[in-house]
């Protein structure tokens, strides 16, 4: 099981580096926004696997908080792209 989780860390790190490539090379601003959103979701999965790896459940709290903050950031960036205020 520990071997599987270590393999999973490798897979998630490769996915995170692909997202970082898209953040760096994306031609437009929404490309970068999509990549940031995807990176947040991948980090949630990484943190949950780390909670299973160590057996301590407070890493799961980090995952929940990260999902919440990533969602708020995504919504704020999308409203900024739309070019409107936040009260509409």
């Amino acid at each position: 099981m520990m071997t599987l989780i270590t393999f999973g860390f490798g897979v998630l790190l490769i996915s995170c580096f692909l997202c970082l490539y898209r953040i760096g090379a994306g031609p437009t601003a929404p490309d970068r926004t999509v990549a940031i959103d995807t990176l947040g979701t991948l980090i949630v999965g990484f943190s949950c696997l780390y909670a299973l790896f160590t057996g301590q459940d407070f890493y799961m709290n980090i995952a929940i908080a990260w999902a919440l903050l990533s969602f708020i950031g995504t919504i704020a960036l999308a409203k900024y792209l739309e070019g409107r205020g936040f009260h509409e």
């Binding site: 995170c16 692909l18 601003a29 929404p30 991948l42 999902a67």
Partner: protein, 128 residues
Amino acid sequence: MNETVGIVFIVVGLLFDLLGAIGLVRLPDIYNRLQAATKCVTLGTCAILVGILIYRGFDPLGTKALLCAVFIILTSPTGAHAIARGSHISGVRLWEGSVVDRYADARDMPVTSKDTESDTGELRVKEG
């Protein structure tokens, strides 16, 4: 038995995560990238979380995994929809191989037009 099912769920989730990230790099367009990245990565991460829940049972770690999975299922499509709408409004063009853009037609159309009620959903040809 529970451990085997949980391991299968975690492996499937990792595979979907990797495929979503590859699609984020390889596809040609912001909308196609949104398609690949959001759906595949959401399903993959939720499969990992459900696998952790099945592996551990309803102890504190598993219950928090279930809570996190529900939260990701609720929020991730909302964020993707907002990004797609914002990028279309901010003027990002579609890939040149795209065949239809219903949202641009709907935004050009006046709201009180009679064509709105009699729209049968067929492909509309733009005048001019």
